[in-house]
């Protein structure tokens, strides 16, 4: 901390120099990345819990009786499509095209919504067959892991709609660009987690 004395007046005047001049939002990306890493640890715990408990069926249904791989494949495709459409939205944003950005964001939201609908259909189907979270340790950990991912997608969708409203009102201003970049990282991160889910839970569940 340095101070500069101005000696022109009769009494010395002190000015505190500012410690650091960070541009607004200059550290947002790193901070958001750190949040994603902490989120990654939450999922690691849930994956570990599923890995430990996933074989305890308590004489209840096993993955083979419950999972429909065709449905999971469609679900995976939905999330993958939403990832690339979000990428296109970011490219449109870089070029400053508001309408194209909004259109790609809307397509992303539709794919995200399709993913959630299929997942909720799958959950309700399982629960109708008596495979509720209370049935066995396998089902408890399954619903916790996949449900937490679904919850993330839900909040991502809420965030997406919020940002579309923001862009519609204020355009692609600097703050909105930063927010869209954060959501981009969040959205692609959820796709990365889903890779773990469909491999570890669904595909390996069918191999048990």
């Amino acid at each position: 901390m340095a101070s500069i004395a101005t000696t022109s007046g009769p009494e010395p005047v002190f000015h505190l120099e500012e410690e650091h001049a960070h541009a607004e939002g200059s550290s947002t990306m790193l901070g958001f990345w750190l949040y994603l890493m902490s989120d990654c640890l939450i999922f690691a715990m849930l994956f570990a819990a599923y890995g430990v408990l996933g074989g305890n069926y308590a004489a209840g249904p096993a993955p083979k009786d419950l999972f429909d791989l065709d449905l999971v494949a469609v679900n995976t495709a939905m999330l993958l499509f939403s990832s690339i459409t979000y990428g296109f939205a970011m490219l449109a944003m870089d070029k400053g095209r508001v309408a194209a950005t909004q259109a790609w964001l809307a397509v992303t939201a539709l794919f995200g919504l399709a993913f959630l609908s299929i997942e909720l259909y799958e959950f309700s189907h399982m629960i109708h067959e008596g495979a509720t979270p209370q049935r066995s340790a396998f089902l408890s950990s399954f619903f916790t892991l996949v449900g937490t991912h679904g919850l993330h997608v839900t909040f991502g969708l809420v965030w997406l709609v919020t940002l579309m409203t923001q862009v519609a009102r204020f355009g692609l201003i600097e703050a909105n660009r930063r927010r869209l970049m954060c959501l981009s990282m969040f959205w692609h991160f959820l796709d990365v987690v889903w890779i773990g889910v469909f491999t570890f839970v669904y595909l390996m569940g069918m191999l048990r």
Partner: protein, 125 residues
């Protein structure tokens, strides 16, 4: 002056982190589709008889696909944010590996040793 340079350095790091290209996204997407389709096909068709081998192969595909997503969609590289995001990622990966292997290893042996009838407790060390 140094503060200004500092801020510029940050901006530059942003540029490196956020700007993908159409080609990059397309390559990432095509690779992801291939890396997703093969494990699904392996499991659905049962192309490999040995289940353990299938499990190892699909896990390898998952790891490769995660790297593809990191590079082409999340634009991870050693330069973004002056290397701090890569450092955070490596730290997180170490923690994830410890959590996963530690839990599975400990709980597997716990289960194996708690199995009734398999062990005579007097023989335990």
């Amino acid at each position: 002056m140094s503060a200004h340079e500092h801020a510029e350095g940050h901006d530059h790091a942003h540029g490196g982190a956020a700007h993908g290209s159409f080609r990059g996204y397309l390559i990432g997407f095509v690779l992801s589709v291939i890396l997703t389709a093969i494990p699904f096909w392996l499991v659905m068709s049962g192309a490999i008889d040995d289940k353990q081998a299938t499990a190892i192969v699909i896990m390898a595909f998952a790891v490769v696909q995660i790297v593809v997503h990191m590079v082409f969609f999340l634009h991870m590289n050693t330069a973004s944010e002056g290397g701090w995001s890569m450092l955070a990622l490596i730290f997180t990966l170490i923690l994830v590996v410890i959590v996963l292997t530690g839990s599975l290893w400990v709980m597997y042996h716990l289960n194996a040793n708690m199995m009734p009838g398999l062990h005579d407790m007097r023989e335990m060390p």
